[in-house]
């Protein structure tokens, strides 16, 4: 029979005598300070050789993780610590919470812990700013890396920029110093002109197949970083055609490199309703540069100017000080083009909708910035939605991260920050050289499994796999994030989630009405 202890926090307002009917071997009062609580729990748990404990009191969620960690480190089973939080309950409510907790606890099976070695290498797909920064930070933390880059040279889009105004960083210099740090390092492998073909495995042991100029190669690693960058798309639905007088914002750098001279230049932003902050940043940067290089007259047309980022507001003010004129539009401007000039006709709500009619020598149009590599992420079942619980670089799959412009549009400092954050998370995951997880936490009973693969389809974390030998589904314990969705949806009721199994949930309902 299982040996349970009941721990009542002081201040819980529960009388130990009220637990007399329950099967416990020790009842004790504990201080509710988290640190003391953890020590006492471990001490008493070990002394009385307990199989589990019911902790009754005011136990905030934050303390729960600390307690479970302490128990695990002391060799006790954290999943058999049932917390009864009594905040907000009256005497009757307290009594029912405690009864429900005991009902659930009686059905809890002990956990079995497993430890598996991991590949410490991180597989980085994409050698642009975000990918390179991830590699640099991981090397500082001592983990080996592989960088796969589709182009001949590393650097991605950063390598095609002249400057990163308003930042002082010189793009080519930054790439050069990154290369110097990485290329002679024996723990760094760089595959250029290479593309990923397939990704197999789970956290701690992925296998990536890469098409290199010399043929396909495979590499193993414990974590995968997608730094796929972004693609620039011409906004064709606006009806505008690129030409000598109409150019995309991304081409402005090469244009301003020449000694061409345009007397009057317009920037047209926010072609899709929302527009982007990166677009505004590039336009401000371009406008200032044109003012500097050519001394032209510059107009910026937008729906809403986005100045809610660190350099944006100051750049906007600087542009105004230099004589850049800002217009707002609601209806998309009417654009007509002759060989010499581009005419824009629009109404500015802040100018009482008076019709503005201007002729320009050059029209610079904001393009769409789309995440690159969506074919790849879709094929591999990886998603990074704008979900606060995954923000910023985690994905739905454990051990796979997305950094830089492939997860959200961002400028250079954003990409650098992403790389640093991802490296930190990977170090936390793989730094110890092993993963510790609970085996059979969510288990498929192979004799009941009808191999319908519902779990494989619905698992949001890509942890449900196909076991062809057993002809059954298999929940990979290292990748499983314990949501229990498969257990709820399994038509054959073949999946058991130990900590939240049906028996435990039903036992709480058995308390009946009052």
């Amino acid at each position: 029979m299982a040996r349970w202890g009941a721990f009542i926090c002081d201040g819980a307002g529960v009388d130990a005598a009220s637990l007399a009917g329950e099967e416990v071997v020790v009842t004790t009062t504990l201080p509710s300070q988290p640190g003391d609580l953890a020590c006492k729990l471990v001490g008493i748990g070990t002394r009385y050789n307990l199989d589990g404990g019911i902790l009754i009191g005011v136990v905030p969620e934050l303390v729960e993780d600390l307690l479970k960690d302490s128990l695990r480190q002391a060799g006790l089973d954290p999943f058999r610590l049932v917390l009864v939080d009594l905040r907000g309950r009256d005497a009757e409510g307290k009594d029912r919470e405690i009864k429900a907790a005991f009902a659930r606890a009686r059905h809890l099976e002990p956990a079995a812990w497993a430890k598996s070695e991991v590949e410490q290498r991180a597989l980085i797909i994409g050698g642009g700013a975000a990918g390179l920064q991830t590699a640099l930070s991981l090397r500082q933390l001592g983990l080996p890396v592989l960088i796969v880059e589709g182009e001949q040279n590393l650097g991605g889009r950063l390598g095609r920029l002249d400057g990163l105004f308003p930042y002082d960083e010189d793009p080519k210099g930054w790439i050069q110093s990154a290369l110097e740090a990485l290329q002679d390092d024996p723990e760094v492998e760089i595959l250029t002109a290479s593309n990923p073909l397939a990704l197999e495995g789970q956290v701690g042991d992925f296998t990536l197949t890469v098409q290199t100029p010399g043929g396909p190669v495979t590499r193993r690693g414990g974590a995968v970083v997608l730094a796929l960058g972004s693609e620039v798309r011409w906004p064709a639905e606006s009806g505008l055609e690129p030409g000598p007088r109409v150019v995309g914002l991304s081409r402005l750098d090469e244009l301003t490199r020449f000694r061409l001279h345009h007397k009057k230049v317009a920037f047209l932003l926010d072609l899709d309703e929302l527009g982007s902050r990166v677009g505004t940043l590039s336009a401000l940067r371009g406008a200032l540069r044109i003012k500097d290089n050519w001394g032209s007259e510059v107009h910026i047309l937008c729906r809403h100017l986005k100045v809610d980022g660190k350099p944006l507001e100051s750049m906007y003010r600087k542009a105004r000080d230099m004589g850049v004129v800002f217009f707002k539009y609601e209806e998309f401007p009417k654009v007509t083009e002759t060989g010499e000039k581009v005419f824009l006709q629009f109404q500015d709500p802040d100018l009482e909708y008076v019709v503005v009619d201007e002729a320009y020598d050059l029209l610079v149009v904001e393009e769409e910035i789309l995440p690159a590599g969506e074919v790849l992420t879709e094929a591999w079942g990886i998603s990074q939605p704008a979900n606060v619980r995954l923000y910023p670089v985690e994905t739905n799959r454990k051990g796979i991260y997305m950094v830089g412009c492939c997860r959200d549009e961002m400028d250079f400092p954003g990409a650098i920050q992403d790389g640093t954050v991802a490296a930190g998370e990977i170090y936390e995951l793989l730094g110890q050289g092993a993963l510790v997880y609970e085996e059979d936490m969510v288990k498929v009973q192979t004799e009941k499994c009808v191999f319908c693969l519902t779990c494989v389809r619905i698992c949001p974390h890509g942890a449900a796999e196909i076991d062809l030998v057993q002809e059954a589904a298999f929940i990979n314990p290292a990748a499983c994030q314990a949501c229990g969705m498969c257990a709820a949806d399994c038509p054959a009721q073949a999946i058991v989630y130990k900590a939240y199994d049906n028996t435990g949930i039903m036992a709480q309902l058995e308390l009946g009405g009052r």
Binding site: L390, P460, Q481, C483, Y497, L509, R514
Partner: protein
């Protein structure tokens, strides 16, 4: 009266702890809204619940991406069953609640209690 509240531990379970709970409420903690089964909801009614609430995360904030949406779908299905067996489907409700929405949690519970009192009067 008994109201069984299935709570996602990431959101509603924390919201539940931010104020005084009516004595009628029994909380059932789940790791994710996606864990709740139609069977659990029906069993709650079978064991004397007058009302059942399934309270999960906002749909685009679910840690398991679509756990909250699945909970909502299952509640819709269970409501159809309740209708067929002659139990007012309004006795079963799904609502999204985030972890900092203590007042909203209490309002949902209070509204249900009031609705049930009206129904039995």
């Amino acid at each position: 009266m008994r109201i069984v509240v299935f709570c996602c531990e990431n959101s509603a379970y924390q919201a539940a702890r931010q104020g005084q709970l009516p004595a009628e409420v029994d909380l059932i903690r789940l790791p994710c809204g996606g864990r709740v089964e139609v069977l659990h909801m029906l069993r709650a009614f079978e064991r004397g619940a007058d009302g059942v609430l399934v309270l999960t995360c906002q749909e685009d904030n679910c840690q398991s991406l679509h756990g909250s949406a699945r909970a909502r779908h299952r509640v819709e299905y269970a409501k159809e069953i309740l209708q067929e067996i002659g139990i007012d489907p309004e006795r079963l409700q799904w609502h999204p609640v985030t972890s900092n929405m203590g007042p909203r949690f209490r309002k949902i519970v209070a509204d249900m209690i009031e609705g049930l009192k009206l129904a039995s009067a």
